[in-house]
Amino acid sequence: MKKRWITLVSVALVSSLMLPVGSLAQLKPVKAALTSKVVLDNLPYFVGLKMGFFKEVGIDLQPSYFRGGGEVVRGITSRATDIAGSISPAGVMIAISKGEPIKIVSAGCAPLVGVYWVVKSDSPLKSVKDLKGKKVGFSSPGSVTHTVIQAILKAEGLEKDTQIVRVGSPGDSWAAVRNGVVDAGWHVSPAVFPLVAKKEARVIIKASDYIKHYQQSVVAAMEDVIKKDPEMIRNFLKARAKAVKFIYDNPEKTASIWAKELKLPVEATQLAYKDIPRGFFETGAPAMQNLKGSMDEAMGAGLKEPLDLDKIVDLRFLPSR
């Protein structure tokens, strides 16, 4: 009997030494809710996954892409995902006002970059002023494109004369423009560049020309998830920050990863890369001025009263801390 036990323990010890090291330190699966895959905000996650930055911190990142707007928020409030990696702060604010215990844990992207409105290249519409009496597409109610197009039309005095129409994803939006369902539809970098290069589409509005103080996206999580696993939040932000640094230090490799992920020609992503200003991908606290800009837009999309912005953030896990 004693001999049998000694044999069993010896076999177990030898077997464990033969296992690959990684098997002993299992990666923690982390489901991340992200906005529509083609949106620029997701680039750090493509890079982080490809370069193994999330694995380095023990995270097996499992992205789930949503249609944007309130859909990403529902991705975390339904507990289907653990963290929202690219979420509209306006959507977060509306959910918080309804009593959902969400906290913003990091800035995502700001200001507004990579969002455009396009027309067919032979369209007579040349500028936003030509949109009077026309139909303009946005993605979904409560989304960045919804709040931004309303702000742009208001700035030009066109909010009563121009009809905004829900068109869905960039692909659906372009189909709506091509088929005449809308006169101008939203699109994003880099996917828009091949259309422009082939002279099928023409950019009529560059959102960043109009909106200066705007938090395009943030990273957020439910309070109970933060409480239960603060290390996951810290490691997630650490890996994301490493990916952001890589993006700025390695343009060629970044463009290549981006192109492969979105199945686009690398020339398109190289062009789109040049359009990204330094500091677009943020890894610190969201600027209050930008959050206030997002809150102003949220007031027009379901937020009934302003929120105390200091109370909706939890910045303990930022990489700089």
Binding site: G69, G70, V73, R74, T77, S78, I94, A95, K98, G99, E100, K135, S140, P141, G142, S143, V165, R166, A175, A176, N179, G180, V181, V182, A301, G302
Partner: protein, 253 residues
């Protein structure tokens, strides 16, 4: 005290509904379910009152009602004409019916991009999809109902030298009433569901757009308020169809 069976059923229905509402109120107030998923009946009632006093509901209702009635009328006409043609020409019916039934079983509402391209963004696209979906059960049931009339009735009509119109109006249609009304009910249900669904997807207007907007801005009590109104509309029209069917049965039997 003697309580008859019908009254017992009524009490049971009311009791079940009350229990459900109390349970909903409890789970929401106790925080067992997120307010983004379910609202308490008390807040839904307040929202219903707010909607009745506001403009959004009535504007949406006007659009949806117009789209539904136009779509149902077209579905009815198309369904009756095609149903009678299929009955009259059995070979055509044999050839087309299996395709129609296959089409009927498919998620036809996904054809909405075709109608968007054909008619643009607006009520015409909504009506187009609803007609395609709503007319099929009407035409199929009319053709099946007419084909299933007892041969003895047809022999009687022929022996009395009934004209084709008399045959149809005095013998075939009355005899096929139960099956035809089943088709009408299905056509009505699918037309209404299609109208609301397409409004929800394409955000063109009506109650569907209202519910869609409220979904995206997390107005959960607003969503349920919209659902209550849609249910009331569906229930009212169903009751009307019931009344019509009873009237026609009394007249023809």
């Amino acid at each position: 005290m003697f309580v008859n069976h019908q009254t017992k059923i009524r009490f049971g229905q009311i009791g079940f509904l009350l229990l459900l509402l109390i349970a909903m109120e409890f789970v929401v107030r106790a925080g067992l379910v997120s307010v983004l998923i379910l609202s308490s009946p008390s807040t839904i009632v307040l929202k219903i009152w707010e909607d009745i006093r506001g403009a959004e509901l009535w504007e949406g209702l006007q659009t949806t009602a117009m789209e539904f009635f136009v779509a149902f009328l077209i579905s009815l006409c198309a369904g009756v004409v095609c149903g009678i043609i299929f009955f009259r020409f059995g070979l055509l019916r044999s050839a087309v019916e299996p395709l129609l039934l296959a089409f009927y079983a498919a998620p036809t509402v996904l054809l909405y991009p075709v109608f968007l391209t054909l008619f643009g963004l607006g009520s015409a696209a909504v009506v187009g999809v609803a007609v395609v979906i709503g007319s099929i059960p009407i035409m199929v049931n009319i053709s099946v109902g007419l084909s299933g009339v007892e041969p003895i009735f047809i022999k009687l009509g022929r022996s009395l030298k009934a004209t084709p119109w008399q045959m149809l109006s005095r013998i075939l249609l009355p005899a096929a009433t139960p099956t035809i009304f089943t088709g009408l009910r299905l056509g009505f249900t699918y037309t209404l569901v299609s109208v609301i669904a397409v409004e929800f997807i394409i955000f063109s207007g009506g109650l569907g757009k209202m519910v869609s907007w409220r979904y995206f801005i997390f107005d959960t009590e607003g969503i349920f308020s919209g659902i209550v109104f849609i249910t009331l509309i569906a229930g009212s029209i169903n009751s009307f169809l019931n009344w019509m069917e009873n009237l026609i049965r009394k007249r023809w039997t």
